[in-house]
């Protein structure tokens, strides 16, 4: 044997021996080590933030900041304040106040130290301080500079979003500009990457300090297959929320598959506007399509589309909006409060002068940041928005009480009152139990005030709490991850989002056992109702906004189809109650806004349409497939991502806003992530 051969033998053999000897790793140990690493990561984030962001004012900072920002006019009125400040610098107590006061007053995005270090604690430095200082006439003058910033905002009251955004002096508000969602034509990944970095770059997620990733999602196990002879009736409430889709998008563009519980298929389907036939006389019009299931040639899809009427903008009643804004420490990062400010500014442009706006903020304590103001007074409203800053812990319910009380005072006849809650879902003080809050909101719902919930930011999002609030408060839950999403929710769909045309819309479908062997409702797991709830007007259900569309899809197995999964029973005679060839019967119940008695719409479900399936219905089916691929693909067989993408692509239609194009790109992203 030559030396040469031996040499070779050495390393190759050593390598294979090494590979063979490598023990399988211990999964429990792995999980433990990963958890340890993540915990240490979170800990270190905390200390890094504290080190980087802790304001270190010396005794001059307060005075310097104040002098730099004072104008001559304010300066004159404040001469005495300067003297007083001098006095305060001279005394230790005064110095304490001064050191923190500029932070609280000048709307700097940095919260005071205590809030950063202990986001979960109940210390609320900023509000407490504000209370303390407003009494003090001298220090109150420090608030002047904030108000002085407002004209700067006013000057460029251009409709151009970019300009309006850059006009805001606060550097923090400029950051999320780059959050704009990837344009459908661009390479989504590249954009997604940029997004991930931009979101995290300005300042790490404050919410992640103590408990990273404390997200919770509301969902139920996917609807099982039902056998028509055993359970012919299916009842559920409509759902016009869109939060799930935006959450999925935010996960996918960050390069991760969404948690399965975050996937609520009905919200994905209902994210898209569909061109269903417009109603005539009724508030909404049901349309039913039956066509072959894309993922199973032996079953059919029953597609139920509701199209809400779109009243003309001039006819809409005046709006009373109470923005209830979470200003807890966790709202500080760029994709939360700053994005929220920009979002609300977009919305403000679309309100009419007679609409009224108020702002209530809540953190450790609740305060009214803006008394009810006509939407025409943009300066005042924008100034109040810009003055918001994050700090302290969160007391969700205190804020809700205040907001509802304020909405009550704004109410006049014929108005629509709505509380718009903007939060990262963190209710960590007081009644944080979703059910306790729910009971409170159910109570308030009867006063006629609607509640919408807008979710911001990731890492801490309490999706379950948001869902619970919106569903019980007669409202919608949307998740805003980018400025484009804000545009969709608060501008494009403003009318639909704010003006309800039908309350408590319930859907009940009775399938005909002589034609349908099995059926399965796709999505709507969290919206299921009992059969008897349908006729009970006291039972709450979803609201339909002006111009909204709602889509529900059943997969049915016709009698005699080879796709039938259950075997017929041996000891029970097959009952065929009717010889009708209808597939089933659809009943809808709804209440007109302000009414307490429900109205009924009834229609039959026609038999299979063998012509080319309707484009809108097919697109909805592709999204249903997308959702099932993300969540549970038991019923999809071999149908996979390529099929979903092809189906969605064929049925994109006009797509004026690019939503459907974006959906196709998300599917492709999900496809490569799930490989």
């Amino acid at each position: 044997m030559s030396d040469d051969f031996k040499d070779k033998f050495d390393l190759d053999d050593l390598k294979s021996a090494m590979n063979a000897a490598t023990p399988t790793l211990d999964a429990a140990r792995k999980a433990e080590n990963l958890a340890l690493a993540n915990k240490n990561f979170a800990d270190i984030q905390g200390s890094r933030i504290a080190a980087r962001h802790t304001p270190r004012p010396n005794k001059w900072t307060g005075v310097m900041t104040m002098l730099n920002t004072l104008t001559s006019r304010a300066g004159l009125t404040v001469t005495t304040a300067i003297v007083a400040c001098g006095f305060m610098i001279g005394t230790p107590q005064g110095r304490d106040i001064l050191n923190l006061a500029p932070t609280a007053r000048l709307a700097q995005p940095t919260p005071p130290d205590a809030a950063v270090l202990d986001p979960a604690g109940s210390v609320s430095v900023a509000p407490a301080l504000a209370d303390e200082t407003t009494d003090d006439a001298n220090v109150a003058a420090l608030a002047e500079p904030v108000m002085e910033m407002a004209p700067a905002v006013m000057l460029s009251e251009s409709r151009s979003r970019e300009e309006a955004d850059s006009a805001i002096g606060n550097p923090a508000t400029a950051a999320p500009l780059s959050l704009t969602r990837a344009a459908p034509t661009n390479d989504l990944v590249a954009e997604g990457m940029a997004l991930g970095q931009v979101v995290s770059a300005p300042e790490p997620n404050v919410a992640g300090i103590g408990e990273p990733d404390t997200e919770s999602f509301a969902n139920d196990t996917p609807n099982p297959l039902k056998i028509t002879t055993e359970e012919p009736v299916s009842t559920f409430s409509i759902d016009v929320d869109t939060a799930a889709y935006a959450l999925i998008r935010s996960s996918l563009t960050a390069g991760q598959l969404p948690p399965t519980d975050a996937v609520r298929i009905e919200e994905m389907i209902n994210y898209f506007p569909y061109a269903y036939p417009a109603p005539d006389g009724q508030p909404f019009q049901p349309t039913i399509n039956v066509f072959e299931t894309p993922w199973n040639a032996d079953t059919q899809l029953v597609h139920i589309g509701l199209q809400g009427e779109m009243p003309s903008i001039q006819d809409r009643p005046a709006l009373n909006l109470v923005f209830l804004i979470d200003t807890s420490g966790s709202m500080e990062s760029a994709d939360k409060l700053p994005l929220l400010r920009q979002s609300f500014r977009l919305m403000l442009d679309n309100l009419r002068p007679e609409d009224e706006v108020a702002i209530v903020t809540y953190a450790g304590s609740t305060s009214i940041a803006l008394e009810p103001t006509q939407a025409g007074e943009r300066t005042t409203i924008l100034a109040a928005l810009n003055a918001l800053n994050a700090g302290g812990s969160t007391n969700g319910q205190g804020g809700l009480e205040q907001a509802y009380a304020l909405a009550e005072t704004m109410k006049t006849d014929g108005d629509v009152s709505r509380v718009i809650l903007a939060t990262d879902g963190d209710f960590n003080v007081g009644l944080s139990d979703p059910r306790g809050l729910q009971a409170y909101i159910e109570d308030k719902r009867d006063t006629g005030t609607y509640l919408s919930v807008l979710g911001f930011g990731r890492g801490n999002l309490q999706d379950a709490t948001m869902q619970s609030l919106a569903q019980n408060g007669n409202g919608t839950a949307a998740y805003i991850d980018t400025l484009s999403e804000a545009q969709k929710v608060l501008v494009d769909n403003l009318t639909g989002a704010l003006f309800p045309i039908a309350n408590d819309v319930k859907i009940q479908v009775e399938f005909n056992p002589s034609t349908v062997a099995e059926y399965r409702l796709i999505g709507y797991e969290t919206r299921a109702l009992n059969r008897e709830d349908f006729n009970n007007d006291a039972v709450d259900a979803g609201e339909l906004g002006a111009g909204h569309t709602v889509t529900a899809i059943y997969e049915i197995t016709p009698v005699g189809s080879p796709a039938q999964l259950s075997d017929p029973l041996r000891y029970q005679a097959a009952q065929t109650a009717s010889d009708s060839d209808e597939l089933g019967f659809l009943r809808l119940r709804y209440k007109l806004p302000g009414e307490t008695e429900s109205r009924l719409i009834e229609t039959t479900i026609p038999v299979l349409d063998r012509t080319q399936p309707n484009q809108e219905a097919s697109f909805a089916a592709s999204i249903a497939g997308f959702g099932q691929l993300l969540r549970d693909d038991t019923y999809l067989g071999d149908w996979g991502w390529d099929d979903a993408i092809a189906l969605a692509n064929q049925n994109r239609g006009d797509d004026p806003f690019g939503y459907r194009t974006e959906a196709v790109q998300l599917m492709r992203l999900a496809q490569s992530l799930s490989n």
Binding site: P204, G255, S672
Partner: protein, 180 residues
């Protein structure tokens, strides 16, 4: 088209405080890391402890990652250094605990573990000086000589030299045992 986020981008996002990116990154790399730890230590028990040490310290080390290098290169460097630290600590501990029962028990346990798979691999690796062993471990883990040099902070030439030294060692070992 692969659209998965690269390790490098994940590491940068993690540097900027993205907890999710960090979690994904480490979950992705864990198995590889463990494999290397095994090559460096030669025992499952030791490899697990070493991996734990690295996991615990990794968040703090994250700032040392630079965009120019691959994440694996950086991670391996961290691992090799951690292995080195651990060996030094054990040497100290071993001296300090001379005569302590549990140290002896531990040692016996390790010996026993090694004996149960008493192949020439253990003996061979164990007989190598530490620096040669580290180098060999990296090269056996499909690292190029250049990468290995980068990780160990030595030149590529030194890596090649160490490898030939290691081969010589192993060859003489085999000849001694008469195993070919």
């Amino acid at each position: 088209m692969r659209m998965t986020v690269s390790d490098e981008d994940m590491a940068l996002a993690a540097q900027n405080g993205d907890g999710q990116a960090f979690a994904s990154l480490i979950a992705r790399q864990y198995d590889r890391l463990f494999r290397l730890c095994f090559r460096l230590t030669g025992s499952k028990h030791e490899a697990e402890d070493l991996t734990q040490d690295i996991c615990a310290a990794l968040p703090a080390k994250l700032s040392s990652y630079k965009r120019q290098s691959k994440v694996t290169t950086w991670l391996y460097r961290v691992a090799v250094n951690a292995a080195h630290d651990r060996r030094r600590k054990q040497a100290t501990y071993g001296r300090a605990s001379d005569g302590w029962g549990d140290w002896e028990l531990n040692r016996q346990a390790v010996i026993e573990e090694n004996q149960t798979r008493a192949d020439w691999l253990t003996i061979a690796m164990g007989s190598l000086p530490v620096d040669l062993r580290d180098t060999l471990a990296l090269v056996l883990d499909d690292m190029t000589h250049a990468d290995a040099g980068d990780i160990l902070g030595i030149s590529e030439g030194t890596v090649s030299w160490r490898l030939s030294e290691a081969r010589k060692h192993l060859k003489s070992l085999k000849e001694k045992e008469g195993v070919v």
